[in-house]
Amino acid sequence: MNFGFTEEQDLLRSEVRKFLDENCPLETVRKITEDPNGGGFSRDLWQHIADLGWLGLTLPELHGGAGLGFVDLVVVLEETGRSLFPSPLVSHTLAAHAIRRFGSAKQHSRWLPRLVDGSAIGTVALAEEDAAPGPEGVRLAGRSAGKQLTLTGEKWFVGDAAAADLIVVAFRKGKSQELGLAVVERGAEGLAARDLPGIDLTKRLGRVALDRVKLARDAVLPKGNAAAIAHLFDVGALAVTAEGVGAAEAALRLTAGYAKQRVQFGRPIGSFQAVKHPLAEAYVDVQSFQSLVYYAAWCADHGRKDLPLAVSRAKAYASEALPRIGIDAIQLHGGIGYTWEYDAQLFLKRAKWLRAAFGDADWHYERVAALGGL
């Protein structure tokens, strides 16, 4: 029994934190994300984190990756969440994970090296306009014609859609309505991907339209079935919740720090229980969904059957708690918290973004109820 991190993992965390503190403090986050022509992230920093090995963290060494696991990934994502680091890292990691886990050896050699060195950016396109999570929400039509597959339909809420060079698209095919995953490359005829304006500028969401996009058969991931799509939702929920842990901690530290300094009625407001108690509750919640995230990551690394349950507990808890923490952060700050220039609002926006991503609290709690035998 050891619910702790290895020395290597602690080192990884401190390196990631140091890099982000030095290269992408919140001031830089704002510069990058508020630039109307910038695409929402920095190509320089992207190349930098590729060189540091973050993009291939969980990919096999054979293709240039570090061969690590989800627990290691969670360590990195807690830190990128803490800094609200704007980059396609989560989308990219999911695409690479899909290709590695559900693709053939030939497909690995074709795509993974480009994803590891950062020369290609990946994303996954699973949900559609109604945003129904899981395989049930996939309706995009795939049609086989000879040796080709034709995809027609629309994907919504696609992370980093405009930046993506490789999009892993979920589709349904034929009379059997069998589910599948295919890799669509930027520039394919009939493909149009664009980002949509969003409230959280540090996260880009877009729409991908496919109008009779023709793919060779080797663009289809052989193991990409309904279970694969469900798994990608689970891993996606895990990844964004890991970022949520870091973001929630940062919001809590920011607010507690302010409460220690701000004096009203002749004393620091942090000495009032009306201020103390919501902060204590925030601490309880962050600690708790952090524990749930760690356990879910461990389940993912060890192929445990209860991964969906572990993920849903974590995502449901976080989706409920994080927006509350964000709102309290604003309220406890008072007027300054409502301003654009103060950082509290950035965390509230991330909280709202996270709540909806990869299934909200209602969806995940319902799955916990069902898996628990109700």
């Binding site: 507690a256 601490y283 600690q287 524990s291 749930l292 209602d362 319902e366 109700l374």
Partner: protein, 383 residues
């Protein structure tokens, strides 16, 4: 990160399961319970965490967790019958007691010869425990105690009380000048008046002290060190593993209740509100389990575990209230019936009316929030 126990620990788990299979009482008659206690004592499961020299089990931290977990899972009766003696009086005596005190009290606590009660809270000092004002004045070889304690659980059935008294009212800090003494409950001048709680039972009492003479040799620790003795005693309960197993069981029973019941004419298990609240409790109980394992890991590495344990105390408080409330809401109109007229013979009514024992006892939720805010987040103290 590894959530599995070592093969040695798993072997110990198998041993405990085997013990439970063999000795778990079928019915909780006094004879069966006495036999259970004798067998548990023979295996040194009673006082399992205590050093072997004093008659304890000398169990490792992970074995203690396994033992608690397996006992809770099996609905087993408690290990040992002297509840407060085993929970904190014994550990305090082991840490601060003289040789004579250890020899006099520890074997009896392990054997469950009689009960101990705890005289901490007073009418004027509940959450602010250190403000206590029961006085003890030195007179020759005795202290003379005057004052009143309240919320003293099982005072009417106890032979001894562990008592906090103020021996020095002039000290600057209210934490100084407090002394811990051990007092026989049949000492002249002690009066016990039971208090009936909202569930209808009388488990706690007021205890009055009127010129009660306590020999100085019955002092535990040094004069003026009573606060230290108390704090270390209360710190003995840590990772909350046993509470988690108990809550998991309650939640499982609640699921059964939901599957059997109708709420407003429809199956309760299909009600979205019921489903969400059960799932919410499920996620929180699992978070408690995992938080407990994080604390346990720290303890295994020899690191101190301090105010973080308030996290699980808050979860537990919330869950004890929520599960009882939810059960009564599922039962609907029948939820306000009681005893044999109520569903499941009033089991959930008892839970819905007895949560204050664990929610208020040992520090209210707001006190736990203060602990987290001040000692973890570093916010200034409330003046």
């Amino acid at each position: 990160m590894d959530f599995d126990f070592t093969p040695e620990d798993e072997a110990f788990r198998a041993e405990v399961r085997d013990f439970i299979k063999k000795h778990l009482p079928k019915k909780y008659t006094p004879e069966e319970l006495a036999r259970w206690h004798t067998e548990a004592r023979a295996r040194r499961y009673v006082g399992f965490a205590w050093p072997k020299e004093v008659g304890g089990g000398g169990g490792t931290i992970s074995q203690q967790v396994i033992l608690k977990e397996e006992m809770a899972r099996a609905h087993a009766p408690p290990l040992g019958v002297c509840f407060m003696g085993l929970a904190w009086v014994g550990p305090s005596i082991i840490e601060y007691g003289t040789e004579e005190q250890k020899q006099k009290f520890i074997p009896d606590i392990l054997d469950g010869k009689y009960q101990w009660c705890t005289g901490y809270s007073e009418p004027g000092s509940g959450s602010d425990l250190a403000a206590l004002s029961t006085r003890a004045v030195r007179d020759g070889d005795d202290y003379v105690v005057n004052g009143q304690k309240i919320w003293t659980s099982i005072a009417m059935w106890s032979k001894w009380i562990i008592l906090l008294v103020r021996t020095d009212a002039s000290s600057e800090s209210k934490h100084e000048g407090i002394t811990c003494v051990l007092v026989p409950m049949d000492t002249p001048g002690i009066t016990v008046r039971p208090i009936r709680n909202m569930a209808g039972g009388a488990m706690f009492a007021e205890v009055f002290f009127d010129n009660v003479r306590v020999p100085v040799e019955n002092r535990l620790g040094e004069e003026g060190q009573g606060w230290k003795v108390t704090v270390s005693a209360l710190a003995h309960e840590r990772s909350s593993i046993a509470e988690v197993a108990g809550l998991q069981r309650s939640l499982e029973e609640l699921r059964v209740l939901a599957r059997r019941s109708k709420k407003n004419g429809r199956p309760a298990a299909q009600d979205p509100g019921v489903r969400r609240r059960i799932a919410r409790a499920d996620a929180r109980i699992e978070a408690m389990r995992l938080n407990g394992l994080r604390f346990l890991t720290r303890q295994l590495k020899g690191e101190p575990v301090g105010p973080e344990t308030s996290v699980n105390k808050l979860h537990r408080a919330g869950l004890e209230v929520e599960l009882g409330e939810l059960a009564l809401e599922i039962e609907g109109a029948a939820g306000v019936l009681d005893k044999d007229a109520a569903p499941e013979r009033g089991k959930w009514q008892r839970m819905a009316l007895s949560w204050p024992e664990v929610v208020i006892g040992g520090g209210t939720p707001n006190i736990q929030r203060n602990i987290i805010a001040e000692r973890i987040l570093g916010l200034p103290k409330d003046p």
